[in-house]
């Protein structure tokens, strides 16, 4: 479904990704793990078009993502839940979800999608007229995921969904990711919470200093000495 080949990217003169190759097949859940500043967020941003690669190719179902204007990439079926959620804090939950359905193709299905999202997150329905910025961290994460789901995506990019949340809420978020997977959506998830994320994904990539160091199935990664020593603390 998604295919990255030899991708370099960065900010100004600072290069954050070096020759990244990555695949996500339809129906898969894939994790990207690695330390702070390894380039995980940059990887997400380059896929959704927030920054453009300086070299390499990105294809979504065969369509050239690099040649697609940034605001049209969501129409290819890629929805990105950005780091720190980035809700519109002074818009209501309803309006935030409405923004998720902004693109022409999604507007016609607005009411149905709203039902789907409220079904998945009954809490959001209770809070629909509340300003998004006044909700708890967990509720905001639900709203951010809900907003991304409003565009009926094929591929969901989740950037650190557990960051800044209380341990109990982190559990809930990973439960949610499982449910989203079960609904047939393809997921690419970036996490620092390695142990947790490896429980919900099929495969994972280990990224360090902007380079893919290792990849494999969840069980392979859990068994790998590199991952064990550096990230699982065993």
């Amino acid at each position: 479904m998604l295919e990255l080949r030899g991708v370099n990217a960065g900010y100004g003169t600072f290069q954050a990704l070096f020759d990244v190759n990555l695949d996500v097949k339809a129906g898969e859940a894939v994790g990207v793990i690695g330390p702070n500043g390894a380039g995980k967020t940059t990887l997400m941003r380059v896929i959704s078009g927030l920054i453009r690669p300086s070299r390499g190719s990105i294809k979504m179902e065969g369509v050239d993502v690099v040649a697609t204007p940034a605001h049209k990439i969501v129409s290819l079926g890629i929805a990105h839940v950005p780091e720190n959620r980035r809700l519109f804090p002074q818009l209501t939950v309803d309006d935030n979800l409405k923004m998720g359905a902004f693109m022409k193709e999604a507007r016609g299905h607005y009411a149905e999608r709203l039902d789907v999202v409220f079904d998945l997150f009954p809490r959001l329905k209770e809070r629909r007229h509340q300003m998004a910025g006044t909700m708890s961290g967990g509720e905001q994460q639900m709203c951010a995921i809900g907003r991304a789901l409003m565009s009926s995506p094929k591929l969901l990019l989740l950037d650190e969904p557990s960051a800044g949340l209380a341990p109990v809420v982190v559990q809930q978020v990973f439960e949610l990711v499982k449910r989203i997977r079960a609904s047939g959506l393809t997921v690419l998830i970036v996490e620092q919470n390695v142990q947790q994320v490896l429980k919900v994904v099929d495969r994972a990539y280990l990224i360090e200093a902007g380079t893919i160091r290792a990849s494999g199935t969840s069980s392979e990664m859990l068994a790998s000495d590199t991952v064990k020593e550096a990230y699982l603390g065993v």
């Binding site: 959704s48 078009g49 927030l50 204007p69 940034a70 605001h71 049209k72 990439i73 969501v74 129409s75 929805a79 990105h80 950005p82 980035r86 519109f88 804090p89 002074q90 818009l91 309006d95 409405k98 923004m99 998720g100 359905a101 902004f102 693109m103 999604a106 507007r107 907003r147 565009s151």
Partner: protein, 295 residues
Amino acid sequence: MGMQAFLDIFDIYLLEAVINGILLGGVLALLALGLNLIFGVIDVTWICYAELVMIGMYAMYFMVQYYGVGYFIAAPFTILLVAALGALLHYLVIAPLLTAPPINQLLATGGVLFVLQSFATVAFGIDFRNLGIRLPVLAFGDMNFSYARLLSFLAALVGMVAVYLFMTRTFTGTAIRAIAQDRQIMALMGVDTKRIYLITSALGGALAGLAACLLVLQYDVHPFVGLSFGPITFLICVLGGLGNFIGGFIASFLFAEIISLGGLFSDLEWGYVLAFAFFIVMMFIRPAGLLARRR
């Protein structure tokens, strides 16, 4: 004159002034909304906002007085014309300076102010012109109200309600409010920020156009007429908190009442002096505006 008789007359004048203040406030609120919209969404101050109003007033004058077009037919054309001017202003002047320091943006729109004033002076001369429409005065008991002011107030109210509905009910309006809060991630929503900025600028222009249609009923148009509305609109927006729509709305009526009631005690000019003095005092007490915008 007995004390009681004095109070009776005074009360009626007072009530008349209060109502006239409300009527004036409506049009000021319309102007403030346009300027606040541009500032709140694009983060740019159109110093030349009142000059767009001036161009609109000329458009009304020429259509109505020169070509004999009916007022209510000329008005929509004027609104469209000034909306197009607003979009053009964004495209030609603001868009290339979007990431420039604010002072450069101020200087650029300030430059447009002088260009428009000079253009009007060369093209139309410095004569004071008016529509030649004299609307009746409505007598209400012992009080007199200008029909033009009443009409302007109602039209301004309709204009503001229309903007409110557009901003809250449509996808594009919601995007305009969202972009003011986080412009970087708009692409993730499938929003083309350039297009939203153009639409917002056209909307700001349309509000200036509507204001032009209303002001031309009460005031003569000349190349420097913008100076009569520009500074006061700017002060209202600052008093309300730049970019804060509700603050601007409240400040408009506050200013209008001070002008109207101040004018009651002596000349109308003194009303303006009082309003400006009030502004200066308020800037010491609440420098970020009546309802400070959280940033």
